[in-house]
Structures are given as structure tokens and as C-alpha cells.
């Protein structure tokens, strides 16, 4: 185990101010006071299966089926999707598909009686060292492990992409820089051995030369646990100062190694691979024990009567069921915030469920709501947002371009490199909802790109149409004559055509007049 001292040195010399971001007041302490609590299983689970980009999701069950714990519910086409597993023994109560969001929801009614009946999955392993990198990746793919850092990308998909390139450094990201999410920290305190085991497995699967676990220095108990678990290992412990948004992988890499990577590009191009610490834990469970991923740890925070804590929650649990178990007041349903106050979103759909991308749930205080309700003023060009932006964009210029819906300006200003950290939104003295404006700007850019793609498609078809017309003009006289003769059998464009069209038009007119009379008579009665 090597502690990287260079990092702290860099911090002393102020290198981190160049990495951008700022120190925020943390509210994690309350939730970390107690350990991870496990939630009693809810009566119903709602599992969501997204469509593959080319075809609808393929389910392995139908309504009315009985499923056992760990039973696979959906089949996948390729590595870009992870299969879904049943978290408990249950009955498939209903299946519904939303064509608009392209998602299928499976409702499971949990059976109380045979809770322990498990479906057979892959056999547990005594030593993953006997497997090759490809075999480990396959095992991870079969057991449906997805990233738990927020985006929910299947781990096997990332590993397969990494296989084509040389990975120099594998980073296990335990930084969790959001000021109000502590799920990873709580997990590392209790399960550091499994996290380190997962890091080793991922290092083997990605053939990375070096591996490091990145964590920020204020997580003292978690660092101590990791130190103990790392004893005698060659995995580095990379300790960072407390700075938001160092948890974002591009910022993390810049802070650790000084390598600039564009947020719109993949870090794989620079030889890095990054997994969340919770993902490493899930990988260890999957590879060693053969357990599919069915749950995650969610940070729950909010005003009393809710008790802030970190809960181990099954996927598919309705978020408001979780909050009620933790003691939340159902009257506050309209102020539920998902994934922290910096990058989070207000929950619009109170039926939403926990999935691999839900790291934290929070109910906003009345005081916080007052602040967000304050009306926005005009931009005064104060430049606070510019100095806060960790990726050196110009939020005030992006704001103007978003307002004017100028996609070209947005692209020129680099909106695609915005990491949506929310710092500009927080520091703005005019209360401009900058994150929302940038969201609208992104949609506008997407729509414009869509219309350009459509136009390209139409142009290709038009060119094909023109080319065909030209070929038709240029064909030899004899062929044209033959075609015209055969045409006259099927088409009525020549001699008899006019009479036939006239007859058809008369027929349609007669039918229309008849229909008008039919519709007309009841209307006359109304008058």
C-alpha cells in the first residue's frame, strides 16, 4: 500500500484551485452517525427494463409467473445493456410498456412465504485468479452488474471498450464529492475488504498496469478501513483534498495526474479507466459469490421526522416507500430531490423507483425551498459563475446563447463539455436557474442535430429519386417503348386513362355527397 503524498503537496501549492471547484459545507455527518440500515422488503417492486436502441426489450417472464430470488427477468442483445434480475421471490403481477419512454415496467408482488428460495445463478468462485480477463468480463455481463456512480453503464460494456485500448491506470472512485451524499463512504467503512477485492478483480479484467483507490481526505474512518484492507497490496490509496466536483471522473484525473481530458471525450483515450467504489463492491459479490446485482446503498437525508441514514435498498423499490420507512412526512412529496442538491433533480413522478443511478434521496427543507422559489433577475455580468466553473466554460455566455436558442453559439462555447455540476447555479447572485437553461440548450442542440440528420436522409432519397429519373430519360428508345407498353396494361395514364379517372372522380364525389347527406341530416335536426 502506497499513500500518494504528491497529492497533498499539490494541494498545499494551490494546484487545486486550477482544477476548479470549491469546498462546500458538508451535511453528511448526520447520515453517517449510524451504520448501513437494511430496509424491510416492500410489498411491491417495480423493475424497469429499457428497450435496446434497435429493438424492444425481451422479457423472460409473463404476467402471472412466479419468480424466485435472483431469477433473470430480461434477456439482453449486447453488452450495452445489463439483464434484470428479480430481487426477491415474487409473482409477476403486471407488465406494462411505455412506448414514449421506451421502457417496460414489471410489477412484482413479493411473496412472504418462500423468501429464501433462490434461483440458481453462476456457481461461486474460490479463486478468480484462475479466470482470464475475458472470462471475468463474461461473468460480470451475465450477472448484470451496472455502474453505481450515477450513469448506470454496464460494467462489462466499459471493460469491453477498455479491452481494445491499453489501460494504464484503473481508478476506483470513492471521492463522492457531493456535499449531501454519503452512500459510498458508509459502504467503505463497513465493507472495505469487498471494495478492495472488487478493485483487484477489475484490475485483472481490464489488464490495467496500475490501480488506485481515490478518496478525499475528510473521510477519515473510510480511509482507515481501506488502509487496513489494503495492507500488503500494490493498490495505491490516492488521497485528495475535499473539493467539489472532484468526484467527476475527468476532474478527478486532472487532480490526480494533471492530465487534461475533455469531458465530452472518453477518459479511455488517455489510458484511464474509472469505476465507482460501490461498483467495485458489486463486482466482487458477482464474481466471487455469483450474486447478480439486485440492490444498492442509497443516502437518505431530510428534515425531521425523517432520520438521515444510508439504506441498502432493493432495485425497484418506490422512492416514496423508502422515504416513508425512514420516517418522512408524505405531505412533502413535492420536494423530493434525487442525487444531491448540486446535481440533483426534483422528483416529478412520485411513482419513481430506486435503480442503479439513484445514489441519494433528499427531502428539501422549507428554507431551501424558499431560496429556490426566489425569482430570477437579469444577468449582471458579475463573473462569479466563470470563476466557479471547474471546466473553464463561460456560463454567462452560455446562458445568453441558451436564451436566444442559438445552437451554433452553444456549440462554439462548448456546452457539451459542461459537466452539469451546478456550481454556477449555486453562486449566481441573480438566482438564474443556469442548470435548467443549459438543459434547455442541450435539448435545442439535440433537436437541431436531429433535423440536420433528417435533412441528410431526405437529401439522399431525393438524390436517388433524381438519379432514377435521369436513368429513365437516358435509356434506349426500344426499352422505353417496351416499358410504356407494359405500363399501359397496369397504369391508366394514356388513352383510356382520362375516361377512367373521370369515372373514379365522379364515384368519389357521389360517395362524398352521400356521406355529407348522412352527416347533414342529424345536424339539421339539432338546428
Amino acid at each position: 500500500m502506497i499513500v500518494n503524498k504528491r497529492l497533498l503537496l499539490r494541494a498545499k501549492h494551490g494546484a487545486f484551485s486550477r482544477a476548479g471547484g470549491m469546498k462546500l459545507t458538508s451535511t453528511k455527518a448526520a447520515a453517517l452517525r449510524c451504520g448501513i440500515s437494511s430496509m424491510p422488503p416492500p410489498p411491491r417492486l417495480f423493475l424497469e427494463v429499457a428497450d435496446h436502441r434497435s429493438r424492444p426489450a425481451a422479457l423472460l417472464v409473463k404476467a402471472g409467473d412466479k419468480v424466485r430470488k435472483f431469477q433473470q427477468l430480461s434477456r439482453t442483445v449486447d453488452l450495452s445493456q445489463a439483464p434484470v434480475f428479480s430481487p426477491l421471490s415474487a409473482t409477476v403481477a403486471a407488465i406494462s410498456r411505455d412506448a414514449h419512454t421506451r421502457r417496460t415496467t414489471i410489477r412484482l408482488d413479493i411473496l412472504a412465504s418462500d423468501e429464501n428460495a433462490e434461483s440458481e445463478t453462476l456457481p461461486p468462485l474460490t479463486d478468480y485468479g484462475s479466470l482470464t480477463a475475458a472470462q471475468i468480463t463474461e461473468r460480470i455481463a451475465i450477472l448484470g452488474v451496472s455502474g453505481l456512480g450515477g450513469r448506470g453503464m454496464p460494467v462489462a460494456h466499459k471493460l469491453a471498450a477498455a479491452k481494445k485500448r491499453r489501460v494504464q491506470q484503473l481508478i476506483i472512485n470513492a471521492v463522492e464529492s457531493d456535499p449531501d451524499i454519503s452512500a459510498d463512504e458508509a459502504m467503505i467503512r463497513e465493507r472495505s475488504k469487498a471494495v478492495v477485492e472488487g478493485a483487484r478483480i477489475l484490475q485483472r479484467a481490464s489488464s490495467a498496469e496500475r490501480c488506485g483507490i481515490a478518496i478525499s481526505k475528510e473521510k477519515k474512518a473510510a480511509i482507515a478501513a481501506l488502509r487496513a484492507a489494503l495492507a500488503g497490496s500494490d493498490i495505491e490509496l490516492l488521497i485528495l483534498p475535499t473539493h467539489y466536483p472532484l468526484g467527476e471522473e475527468h476532474r478527478l484525473i486532472y487532480a490526480l495526474f494533471g492530465t487534461e481530458t475533455a469531458p465530452s471525450a472518453s477518459i479511455l483515450d488517455a489510458g484511464f479507466l474509472c469505476f465507482n467504489a460501490a461498483t467495485a463492491h458489486a463486482v466482487a459479490l458477482a464474481v466471487n459469490r455469483g450474486e447478480p446485482m439486485i440492490s444498492r446503498i442509497v443516502s437518505v437525508d431530510g428534515p425531521t421526522p425523517l432520520r438521515p441514514q444510508n439504506c441498502e435498498v432493493l432495485f425497484g423499490t418506490p422512492i416514496w416507500h423508502l422515504l416513508e420507512v425512514c420516517g418522512a412526512d408524505p405531505a412533502q412529496k413535492d420536494r423530493t430531490l434525487i442525487n444531491g442538491s448540486m446535481r440533483g433533480q426534483l422528483l416529478e413522478n412520485t411513482q419513481a423507483v430506486v435503480h442503479s443511478g439513484v445514489r441519494g434521496v433528499r427531502i428539501l427543507d422549507a428554507s431551501e425551498l424558499l431560496q429556490s422559489d426566489e425569482l430570477e433577475r437579469n444577468c449582471i455580468n458579475c463573473g462569479h459563475c466563470v470563476s466557479a466553473c471547474p471546466v473553464n466554460l463561460q456560463p454567462q455566455a452560455l446562458f445568453r446563447a441558451s436564451r436566444a436558442r442559438d445552437t451554433f453559439q452553444l456549440a462554439a462555447l462548448g456546452l457539451e463539455d459542461c459537466i452539469d455540476c451546478g456550481l454556477c447555479d449555486q453562486v449566481c447572485p441573480s438566482h438564474l436557474p443556469l442548470r435548467d437553461y443549459f438543459g434547455a440548450g442541450r435539448s435545442e442542440m439535440r433537436l437541431w442535430q436531429g433535423s440536420v440528420d433528417r435533412a441528410d436522409h431526405f437529401r439522399n432519397r431525393f438524390d436517388a429519386h433524381q438519379a432514377r429519373a435521369e436513368r429513365k430519360l437516358r435509356r434506349p428508345q426500344s426499352v422505353a417503348l417496351a416499358a410504356r407498353q407494359s405500363d399501359s396494361k397496369t397504369e391508366f395514364s394514356r388513352t383510356s386513362a382520362k375516361a377512367e379517372i373521370a369515372a373514379a372522380v365522379a364515384r368519389v364525389k357521389a360517395r362524398r355527397a352521400e356521406r355529407a347527406e348522412d352527416q347533414g341530416s342529424p345536424r339539421k335536426d339539432d338546428d
Binding site: 425569482l375 430570477e376 433577475r377 437579469n378 445568453r400 441558451s402 436564451r403 436566444a404 436558442r405 442559438d406 445552437t407 451554433f408 453559439q409 438566482h431 436557474p433 435548467d436 437553461y437 438543459g439 434547455a440 435539448s443 435545442e444 433537436l447 437541431w448 433535423s451 440536420v452 433528417r454 435533412a455 441528410d456 431526405f458 437529401r459 432519397r461 431525393f462 436517388a464 429519386h465 397496369t490 397504369e491 391508366f492 395514364s493 379517372i501 373514379a504 372522380v505 364515384r507 368519389v508 364525389k509 360517395r511 362524398r512
Partner: protein
């Protein structure tokens, strides 16, 4: 003798200069053609390719050529504000509102054939610039919605008026966040 030599050198120099200028002029003119072509292609890329002719030119490519030669950029109703802003950016001009002489901004739309009234005359099929209508002589025709540009060129030739232009299902509007007090500057800023 010396004056003669100077005279000769002068003649030679001016001839060389003239020749060089001529060569440069020819090179410049020859380069102008591909440059103009490249600009036309760039302009054509941001036009919606409906081939509807509402701009007064017989298609998108001819309109692109006309814009490259100096025509107004605000004549494309299917493209709307987005196309005007894109063209303005491309040509370094100020965006202007759409010229009402060429029609109003159209939402995304497609043609729809009322199939029980279709007599199978093939006229709309010949009119469609992107082959989005399927059918054969004396047999019913239908529009392949995903391929239809909504140009409404098929409406006019139909002898029984059985083609409607209906709005497309895809949402094409982004609403900006509304957490603000009403501000007269908004209208000005939102204009392209």
C-alpha cells in the same frame, strides 16, 4: 548604353510583374469556383431538404446556390427560426424574421392519404420528391410517414383531394425555464 540597359531591365521587370499578376488572377478565379461550391454544400446542409419550393426556387439545392450568390436567407418556412439562425451564422449576417411572403413557420408535418377515397392514379407518387408514397396503378396508395418531408407537393396533383397534411408527432419545441419575473428584454433576446 547604360541607359538602354536600365530601360530593358525596366521593361523586363514590368512584363514579369504583369505575368505574375495574370497568373495570380487566373489562380484566384479558378479557386473561387470550388470555394463557391463548398459554400453551396454548407448552405445546403442546413436547409431542411423538403424540396417544397416555397422559397421560390425549385428545390433546396437551387435555393442554396441562390443564397451563395446573395439571395435573402429568410425564405424557408419549413426550416423556421433554426434554419435562419444557422444560415446567418454561416454567412456572417444578422438573423431576420421569416419573410411572410413565402409562408408561415410550419411545425413538423407529414402527408396523410385518406385511403378509402384514393383511386390509385399514381399522380402523387410521381410528384413526391423523396419516394415516400407507396402504391401502384388502380391500387390504393399510402404515405410512409418516416420518409415524408411534409412538403405538400402531393396535395395539388391529387384529382380527388384525398391528401391531408397533418402535424408530425415528434415534439420540436424546447421550453425555457420559467422562474422569472416578466421582463421586456426577454422578447428582444429571444428573437433570433
Amino acid at each position: 548604353m547604360a541607359a538602354d540597359l536600365v530601360n530593358w531591365i525596366g521593361w523586363l521587370l514590368s512584363a514579369a510583374l504583369g505575368l505574375w499578376l495574370l497568373v495570380r488572377l487566373v489562380a484566384y478565379l479558378r479557386l473561387q469556383i470550388p470555394r463557391q461550391q463548398a459554400l453551396v454544400i454548407k448552405i445546403d446542409r442546413v436547409l431542411p431538404q423538403t424540396q417544397c419550393g416555397k422559397c421560390g426556387y425549385p428545390g433546396c439545392r437551387p435555393y442554396a446556390e441562390a443564397i451563395a450568390a446573395g439571395a435573402a436567407i429568410n425564405r424557408c418556412p419549413p426550416g423556421g427560426h433554426r434554419t435562419i439562425v444557422a444560415l446567418a451564422r454561416l454567412l456572417n449576417e444578422q438573423p431576420r424574421p421569416l419573410d411572410p411572403a413565402h409562408g408561415d413557420i410550419e411545425p413538423s408535418q407529414v402527408a396523410f392519404i385518406r385511403e378509402d377515397e384514393c383511386i390509385g392514379c399514381m399522380k402523387c407518387i410521381r410528384a413526391c420528391p423523396v419516394d415516400a408514397i407507396l402504391g401502384s396503378g388502380k391500387l390504393m396508395h399510402t404515405v410512409i410517414a418516416s420518409e415524408c418531408t411534409g412538403c405538400d407537393l402531393c396535395v395539388e396533383p391529387c384529382p380527388v383531394d384525398c391528401i391531408d397534411i397533418i402535424p408530425d408527432l415528434e415534439p420540436a419545441q424546447v421550453s425555457l425555464p420559467h422562474r422569472r419575473v416578466d421582463n421586456p428584454l426577454d422578447e428582444l433576446e429571444a428573437q433570433p
